[in-house]
Symmetry: C2
Subunit: 361 residues, 2 copies
């Protein structure tokens, strides 16, 4: 990777917020915005929502309000968000990134709305970078090293080609650089074995492309990783097909839910175990805080000509604030410029899209 | 599903054991066999291993020993197991299923050896049922309902067609029937959303085939499920591509490992937390016992004309004994006849393999 162009942190970061998105809407997003502003003195917010909802936001510092007349429901089909509700809070919030006046334009947008709609509207309004066929969703998962493994794609794309997986590796590397300050993050290709002969034809070919990109100095490719490596933290970044990534993420959520239910059952089984629970409470609470999924809320939509972050639909105020903080860090450390720079460096020297590609040596 | 033919439990079950397989070989398999025989008075074992190893097995009741001169190593390529080591303990143990004399032939075989080799040798010696293109590996995962969700395929097949997923549903239903006594187990198709429009073209078409099989009374298809449904226990059975299943399983192992490491760290942080650990120990131990992966050891290779069970390579004696008990239950409840019957009923009325198939209504 050649040295980045000047990537000084932004002195001020302005974030557009879709206040109506998510299962709870303004009752969660507005308190989250208030807490976020208190902790981020160099941040400004552009709150987008219905006039009613925004009334409750008066008095917030460093905040501009923009009224939108419509709301994308969590179960609205993509077509409705895209073609019918043209004055939705989601769409208007994303549009704030595109404002011509740099004193007004947002550096990033955050929404807890419907994922499919957010992806479609973002793609329509912002467009993708040259060389990127499809945007991807990257998430942060806690790992045994006390850091976060970045994983993409998590559901935006099913049936990815080898070239898409290469694009994910390039964009994800930029994400790790922006969030963690690592300029050469390690990249793992999710597979069913470490050997290069494992996996489907697409995966094997993706391995070839990633090795070629590594040889060219564009990414730091570690090799194949397996499912358990995500939580071990074997690599900083794990790339996979959106179907596989979505299943891995949801399976993990299911397992975590089952284990926490079982711990609860065991500690409430009898008077004695309840006493043990009282004694163990501070320790269990520390444990719970470490694995609290609200601490790693905020998926990044990568590949677009603008930064959009997705908070979980069921976010509470802490989870939504985490997503705001993630968008702030990414924008402040110029994630968009980093993605653009890496794509230009790597993909112009490498195949992209569905074009025929030379075989790696 | 039409009523099964007479499926009375077998009065006596004979299991062939590859004593040399796994990371620990006879030091684990022989104690496991001893414990298993004590708990299963209607079981007989055929122990297969080197003469040296089997010397330690003398004195075991209801046991016959068969000497094999070779051992398939955990890292042997499939070709070596298949073509070079023709007198391996793995191969000889599987061969015990094929003996012509019913007073000698084993009803099932258990090995902790190399998965790829076990699958290849089993397939070569036993062959698949008509209508089954590829055998699959099914595992049991604990769920929040206190039962086990059966999941297949877990790595034997990457790039499955819709017809393969139907075959997995049929074979897996037989497995649930044999192990849990449920004649109409519910089947879920692993996907990235519950709606029928979700997923790849293969998954959508698999959904059509599964709905048609449901309409024909051959399986009890619940619909799409997501990753979190595996541990929730939403359906008795979950079918998926071997790549996706392997990633989901390994990701779960990684998460469980990270969580148990974190709990340990929190409880050993200071003198005070160590005291709390002492008090909480009985409760934590009960919890650990519930999620102990050794309690659900034993993957079934399905689709073959013989029952083969795979224990985890790293099995200790308890895990290997669990795999023996699983094979015993399956053989006793005539899993092979059930699979055969269900395949004949379903697949003769339905498409199989890569042949063109009528669209479901």
């Amino acid at each position: 990777m050649s040295p980045h162009p000047a990537l000084e942190p932004l002195p001020l970061v302005r974030i557009a917020v879709d206040c109506m998105g998510g299962d709870h809407g303004p009752s969660v997003t507005l308190p989250a915005c208030r807490a976020f502003l208190e902790r981020h003195p160099a941040a400004e917010l552009v709150l987008v929502g219905t006039a009613d909802a925004l009334a409750a936001a008066s008095g917030l510092p460093r905040t501009r309000c923009v009224v939108a007349s419509e709301v994308v429901a969590m179960d609205d089909p993509v077509e409705v968000a895209l073609r019918k509700k043209r004055d939705s809070s989601m769409r208007v919030a994303i549009g704030q990134i595109k404002l011509a006046d740099p004193a007004m334009a947002a550096h990033a947008c955050v929404s807890a709305g419907n994922t499919g709609a957010l992806m479609a509207v973002s793609r329509y309004l912002l467009k993708t970078f040259d060389g990127i066929d499809r945007p991807a969703i990257a998430a942060l998962l806690p790992n045994a090293r006390g850091r976060f493994t970045k994983v993409l794609d998590l559901g935006a794309n099913v049936d990815c080609s080898a070239e898409h997986l290469l694009q994910f590796a390039v964009m994800g590397s930029a994400l790790v650089s922006a969030l963690d300050g690592l300029e050469e993050p390690t990249v793992g290709l999710l597979n069913i074995g470490e050997e290069t002969i494992k996996g489907s034809e697409t995966i094997k070919r993706a391995g070839e492309l990633l090795r070629a990109a590594h040889a060219g100095g564009h990414i730091n490719f570690h090799g194949n990783v397996e499912g358990n490596d995500i939580f071990k933290g074997t690599t900083d970044l794990v790339v996979c097909d959106g179907f596989v990534g979505n299943v891995a993420l949801k399976t993990s959520e299911g397992l975590a839910g089952m284990l926490s239910q079982m711990i609860k059952e065991e500690f409430t089984r009898s008077a004695w175990t309840k006493l043990a629970a009282l004694v163990a409470m501070p320790v269990l609470n520390r444990f719970k805080a470490r694995v609290d999924h609200r601490r790693y809320s905020g998926g990044a939509l990568l590949g677009l000509r603008g930064l959009v972050f997705k908070a979980h639909g069921s976010s509470d105020a802490l989870a939504f604030e985490t997503a705001l903080a993630r968008a702030y860090d990414a924008a402040r450390n110029r994630l968009l410029d980093r993605v653009h720079h890496r794509i230009a460096e790597t993909l112009q020297a490498m195949p992209s899209g569905d074009t025929a590609a030379p075989q790696a040596a």
